[in-house]
């Protein structure tokens, strides 16, 4: 790797986001196709691929309708022998879990790399699940970069390993690496793979084949562990003069350890873990060497839990998120890791009285959702017992003051299905609110189910023509096509109503909403007005 870096020193270093470093690494690894669905903090991977000048875009890059679709599209490209990238936020992998798990059995043709960007601390997410669990669940290889150069280098190596071991390979990011910029030195690009179709016996997971393929996956595990043990991205430094403290750190947590380690009086033994399956013998050597072992990992305490096992390690003290040295929930920080390392906090300026008025995110001035939510709230005013089930998008901010207009947000598409269940259980009126892109992502099947039963509920589809929350990406279910989908799902045409959410239409819109709330059966109200923030971008 070092030699290659020198040889290609002609390529100019670039300031890149962690997401962009992964994308560029994939391009230079001979990427043929990339698929994704927007989601913080993963969106910038595909955005970067789409933004590259056309002369440097010898690949397909697509915003898919959802993560499952994206994963299967990437898998198809891999089946054809090409290198494919699929990227998503952590909860997106839940949506894509079916093809993800099974692709560990089919194996790959061309290298298949799945990027899962986790969000510890839930900056823009509903949970802080740790995607390394998924890599372990599927029994595949996983990289976790600590820096931007690593993100680039690992993306390249992930494709090589995927082809070498005939499995998909995961690259796990977290918000702080995805959305941090640093300098990356790129290397010479590799050319793309030729077209070459997979063998049907490997790719047709009938039980007879699936059993054989699962056996193959199991037999491959020792090789994966050996590759992890030998990976240069892991680093073990034992201090023979001081056995008191050892620190194991993975990914971004490694940086927080490095930030503070020079302030310790004696040098601890250190292990950087960057690959999974866990490099067991390196972990064993560090644990054998040190009396106390601090485990710092952003996300769930995976390494720590594995190390403790059921009974702990006799004679050793294991510290981390499970012991309380680090908090069980939330994002790590240099300060939290510093304290866990036994160091005093840094001196800082004391600003005196606190706290300050918060400034939470809010809907943009002139946002069409504001007008829809106001009209809906007014129409519901004289109907106690109503409930508005919401979904994932800017309109979820309607749960907060001054709107207080929606009462749930669980996962992509859940608004319509939960409203149906709520309606079945007796909630009247049961209302769902969902955006056009989220409807395309996971709402269509829910609507189909509700339409089949003509469930007594009212669905709002807020068609602003874009995926606004994540930066204005392309929506797959907008405009006239959206109306055809609704009608095709079996919603009675008389109860598909289109409104234009504008202050001047308020009275009329409230009237239309009241009519449909009164209707004993399924209604869909489509509120059509372009996003105020991203409309011009889309035209341009």
């Amino acid at each position: 790797m070092e030699e290659a870096a020198e040889k290609d020193s002609a390529m100019k270093p670039e300031v890149l986001l962690g997401d962009e470093a992964v994308a560029l690494g994939a391009v230079h690894a001979g990427l043929s196709a990339a698929y994704s669905y927007p989601g913080t903090p993963a969106s910038e991977i595909l955005e970067y691929l789409l933004r590259r000048p056309s002369g440097e875009r010898d690949y397909t890059a697509v915003w898919s309708v959802n993560e499952k679709t994206a994963y299967e599209e990437a898998l198809g490209a891999s089946f054809a022998g090409r290198r494919a990238l699929v990227s998503m936020k952590h909860v997106g992998l839940n949506v894509a879990a079916d093809p993800f798990m099974n692709s560990a059995l089919t194996g790959v043709g061309g290298g298949l790399v799945v990027v899962a960007a986790d969000d510890p601390g839930m900056h823009s997410s509903q949970n802080e699940q740790d995607s390394r669990t998924y890599a372990d669940f599927a029994r595949i290889f996983c990289f976790e970069p600590a820096g931007h150069q690593e993100a680039y280098d690992m993306a390249r190596e992930a494709f090589d390993l995927s082809e070498k071991f005939d499995i998909p390979v995961m690259l796990r990011l977290t918000t702080r690496i995805s959305h941090s910029r640093s300098v990356v030195a790129p290397r010479e690009a590799r050319s793309q793979n030729p077209l070459r179709l997979g063998q049907w016996q490997d790719w047709t997971l009938l039980p007879v084949n699936a059993r054989r393929r699962f056996q193959r996956l199991l037999e491959r595990q020792p090789e994966l562990r050996a590759a992890s043990e030998a990976s240069p991205f892991n680093a073990l430094t034992l201090n023979p003069r001081d056995r008191r403290l050892g620190i194991i750190a993975s990914g971004i947590a490694w940086n927080y350890v490095q930030e503070n380690v020079r302030d310790l009086e004696t040098e601890p033994s250190l292990l950087k873990v960057s690959t999974y399956p866990m490099p067991e013998s390196l972990i064993r050597r560090l644990t054998d060497h040190a009396e106390r072992v601090l485990v710092a990992e952003d996300g769930y305490p995976l390494i720590e839990r594995m190390l403790r096992g059921l009974y702990g390690v006799p004679g050793k003290t294991i510290l981390g998120r499970m012991s309380g040295e680090l908090p069980a929930a939330g994002e790590l920080s240099p300060d939290l890791v510093r304290t866990a390392m036994g160091l005093k906090p840094l001196k800082h300026y004391e600003p005196g009285e606190r706290p300050l008025a918060g400034r939470p995110p809010q809907l943009c001035a002139g946002c069409p959702h504001t007008d829809t939510l106001k009209a809906l709230t007014e129409a519901l005013r004289d109907r106690p017992g109503s409930n508005v089930f919401s979904d994932i998008g800017c309109y979820t901010l309607g749960a907060l003051p001054p709107y207080n207009a929606v009462q749930t947000c669980v996962c992509m598409g859940a608004s319509i299905s939960m409203a149906r269940g709520g309606s079945d259980a007796g909630i009247r009126p049961a209302v769902a609110v969902i955006g056009d892109s989220t409807f395309g992502h996971s709402g269509i099947t829910s609507l189909l189910s509700a339409a089949r039963a003509d469930a007594d509920m009212t669905v709002f589809i807020l068609d602003n023509g874009t995926v606004a929350m994540t930066g204005g990406q392309t929506s797959c279910a907008t405009g006239p096509g959206l109306l055809k989908i609704i009608e095709g799902a079996g919603v009675p045409p008389a109860h598909i109503r289109v409104i234009e959410p504008l202050p001047r239409n308020h009275e009329r819109n409230v009237q239309i909403i009241r009519e449909e709330l009164d209707h004993k059966g399924l209604s869909v109200i489509v509120a059509v007005r372009e996003c105020v923030t991203y409309s011009s971008k889309r035209r341009g």
């Binding site: 300098v183 927080y256 840094l346 001196k347």
Partner: protein, 197 residues
């Protein structure tokens, strides 16, 4: 921290989503890259960008920068396009650090505190520079150039050369029009003059 005289500067950029703090970061990042410095710059994307409080941790050093986040007490500078947002991160500032802030409030919350009280608390920081960014940006030709006014106001305290900053302001805005580049260059110069006076 005594005895380690690496050339380094840790800066917390603050503002409200939409005020253009990432443009400030772009200019500083690229000027630092030209000077051969290492850098890391953590940003906030996604939901918070919708009119919420946003910050970016920007770390420059002649040595390796490890953490993307600046530890509490590690910030050499807070550079804010909005006074309440400057106040929000004061406890991240090193005891000797400098706060460079706009005096122009961005009032998009119902409980925005008393402005004079905010400014008074900011002026209590031993090293501070407060600029009337809205007035100076309008003087430069656009109230949207407040971010470059504040970059200019911070520039005397930055370890970067002024010409590098100017060059990258030009690089950033010229593709969007020569006039826009001129406005932003002027905004920078007015901010710099205000902080130096």
């Amino acid at each position: 921290m005594e005895g380690r005289e690496a050339r380094k500067q840790d800066i917390i950029l603050a503002g409200v989503g939409g005020q253009g703090i990432l443009s400030i970061a772009y200019v500083i990042d690229h000027a630092a890259l030209d000077e051969g410095l290492n850098l890391r710059q953590a940003e906030v994307h996604g939901m918070a960008q919708r009119g919420g409080a946003v910050q970016s941790h920007l770390r420059l050093s002649s040595e390796t920068v490890y953490s993307d986040l600046i530890p509490r007490g590690g910030a050499d500078m807070i550079l804010s396009v909005e006074p309440l947002e400057a106040l929000r991160y004061l406890d991240s500032l090193a005891p000797w650090g400098v706060v460079v802030t706009s005096a122009t409030p961005f009032r998009n919350i119902p409980d925005y505190p008393d402005l004079e009280d905010i400014l008074e608390r900011l002026r209590r920081v031993p090293k501070h520079a407060v600029a009337d960014s809205e007035k100076l940006a309008k003087e430069a030709g656009s109230s949207r150039a407040q971010n470059m006014v504040m970059l200019g106001a911070a520039s005397p305290f930055l370890m970067l050369k002024e010409d590098g900053l100017l060059r990258h302001i030009e690089n950033l805005f010229k593709p969007r029009g020569a006039n826009l580049a001129d406005i932003n260059l002027k905004a920078f110069r007015l901010g710099r003059a205000a902080a130096s006076s």
